[in-house]
Symmetry: C2
Subunit: 467 residues, 2 copies
Amino acid sequence: MSDIAPVLARVDENLSSSLEKLFALLRIKSISTDPAYAGECRQAAGFLADYLGELGFEASVRDTEGNPMVVAHHPGATAQAPHVLFYGHYDVQPVDPIELWTSDPFEPAIRKTENGTEIIFGRGASDDKGQLMTFVESLRSYKEIHGEMPVAVTILFEGEEESGSPSARPFIIANKQELTADYALVCDTGMWDPETPSICASLRGLVGEEVTVTGADRDVHSGDGSLVVNPVHVLCDILAGLHDESGAVTLPGFYEGVSETREDVRRIWDELSQMPANLLAEYGLSIPAGEKDRTSLELIWARPTAEVNGIAGGYAGAGFKTVIASKATAKVSFRLVGDQDPEKIRDSFRAYVRSKIPADCSVEFARHGGAPATQLPYDSPLLARAKAALSEEWPKPAVVTGGGGSIPIVGDFQSILGMDALMVGFGLDDDRAHSPNEKYNLISFHKGIRSWVRILATIADMPKSGA
Amino acid sequence: MSDIAPVLARVDENLSSSLEKLFALLRIKSISTDPAYAGECRQAAGFLADYLGELGFEASVRDTEGNPMVVAHHPGATAQAPHVLFYGHYDVQPVDPIELWTSDPFEPAIRKTENGTEIIFGRGASDDKGQLMTFVESLRSYKEIHGEMPVAVTILFEGEEESGSPSARPFIIANKQELTADYALVCDTGMWDPETPSICASLRGLVGEEVTVTGADRDVHSGDGSLVVNPVHVLCDILAGLHDESGAVTLPGFYEGVSETREDVRRIWDELSQMPANLLAEYGLSIPAGEKDRTSLELIWARPTAEVNGIAGGYAGAGFKTVIASKATAKVSFRLVGDQDPEKIRDSFRAYVRSKIPADCSVEFARHGGAPATQLPYDSPLLARAKAALSEEWPKPAVVTGGGGSIPIVGDFQSILGMDALMVGFGLDDDRAHSPNEKYNLISFHKGIRSWVRILATIADMPKSGA
């Protein structure tokens, strides 16, 4: 391991200039969902490319069909040093409703709370400008102390993450060679709590399906019920049949590729069981839904789901209409874990639905994406080293968590570039990402930079090829 | 029985002047759903009151909150003569899409088809101006021949039937004394086929319920599925559970008050089984839905139903949104038969729904009407006499049918005025009521008038109080 004590000391000394850089970036209104801010998005990309250039990177702003990517390369200290790909995004969410902000979202400021906590306010403070700058600033201090980087670094900054990353996959495919490294690092997730850092080791996959059942060739007066088939009934039967009484999904073959959570992982999660209880309370709920005899964390992180995300059929306006609809439609998504195959699950769903359609009715399907789950193996040396490094920095030891959602670009790193991703971030649940008065605790920024110093130092000691 | 031969002959002689009267009524654009035609509705009411006045009625146009009613009274030939209340409606459906009409909807005309059938074209030709005029014209011929009416007659013409009859029930309650008679007659239904007249002896009742299930206090990202309860799942389970595998409704007590169809009635219906097969084919369907081992006619006329008329929850727009909705809602209606109690069924439904709501979710209900089924007893002398009278007039004997829908005013006649209603009409399935190129066969109009002459004659021989 490189000597990191002087680098960490430099991080501390650099904090106010690091904040200046961050603030300059936060002032750029790089809202990606509104085309009116396309110029500001390009400005943010240019700002980052320029800054990386100053740090010795070969950096460029690269056009896409949407907002540009920033790609930058820096060699490692030695030819033997591993090569990391770091991903973050410079675009931010819109600021509406603007009237709920207590100060200008694009005039960042540090304020002290009553208990003395210093907080960075501004759109993008945590998601993701503050987070991506933790990585960049760790590199700066390395460079300043050692004159070189501990590992070879490729940086990919995206400008469309908040609007669905339409350009990401084509860009990764088109630049596969250039973007491939030994390890991928992502800084867009959160801490377990303000004292406990977290590594997100898994994300669930996703299959989206839209199903439309057609009965009569037009809406029918319900005076002809129940002679005329009601496609809403057919659809409700189908959807109700997706789960059995234990909450398990009934589709044939659905659990192929799903492993039970390892005992050691389960023990860790059992200790972490506090958060999802809070999550339910936050939504005004108290009873975990889904499979019985599973812990809440297991349900979100390690178990697959079938969810109806939308349903419509017949008359749903004000008042009442005694109609038997001609059509009923639902949007259904499956969250996948382990080695579940998205296309096999899509096929199983469609076969199940078709088996429940009366002979004189018809059914149509539309596909809405499909991606497998991603998982950083629990015995990965990268995970073990990152955990140790984070535990050195923070008051409490790092925990390994999962994610219930899906980040398609992490799947792309795995499926296209063949790289596992280490997801580490310093956001907190109360950071209000996507909401008014977004913030990032100063300690998250400061210790985040220090955390990357430690993680990069330990990666420098690893072999070049992936764990 | 009065001597009806000269009255029938007079009907034949009067046919062209009867048509002139009908055409004058058809020219009035009495569209009730569009307030722009309120003046024309009042004009139609005035036209009818004036005409009834010419026939010796004490007739008046009576204001309501909406379009006016026409109420008219004529004494019977003797104090012992029974008293009938006749109901029809002078308002018509809108004419959109106007471009599909082959001639002006309000310029009625008689045209001959290739096989020589004469047909009256125009909005309201069958629904319901043509039909109500069959009754009025039968009275005219009576009056002209005998100088008096065979029975005491009260007429109630409504002007809001096509827009939900909002004023009918309050009007009937407010004028209970004036409107009560021995028998109610309604001319707003159809023939079994062009040669077979029909008496509609029953209508189903209706209970409407709207149910809204709430889970989380806001929409939740489905990355938290299945930890967070999905109210669409809860609702689909509830709705799927409303029917068992045999198609029967599962609500406790639902079939209380439902009798099996009498053997003699069932035998008649078995012979009539042709029409509903056609009905299914007309909608592009072939398999009767609903309870197993029931004939199609039984299903529509004599069995209660539970139907979902509308469902909505989550994201149903274009594309896909991985959301777990906070709320899901459905509109559910029950068609009732026999002595089923609307309020007991509403209570049973609500209790069933509540029993399926997870403890941390909530449910709200909204009521949308409730009315019991109406039934003219199969052994009613009125039914037997009307059947005989119609069978005299038409090529084939009259059949007794049921109706799958609900006509609330007929329920009001029963529940408020204590009167059974005889529903006889001369419309045909291809009359295109509510559609462009509405028509009424000339023979329906002509034989319809003659049919009422016969029915009134036979009622004149009945006792004053209801069957």
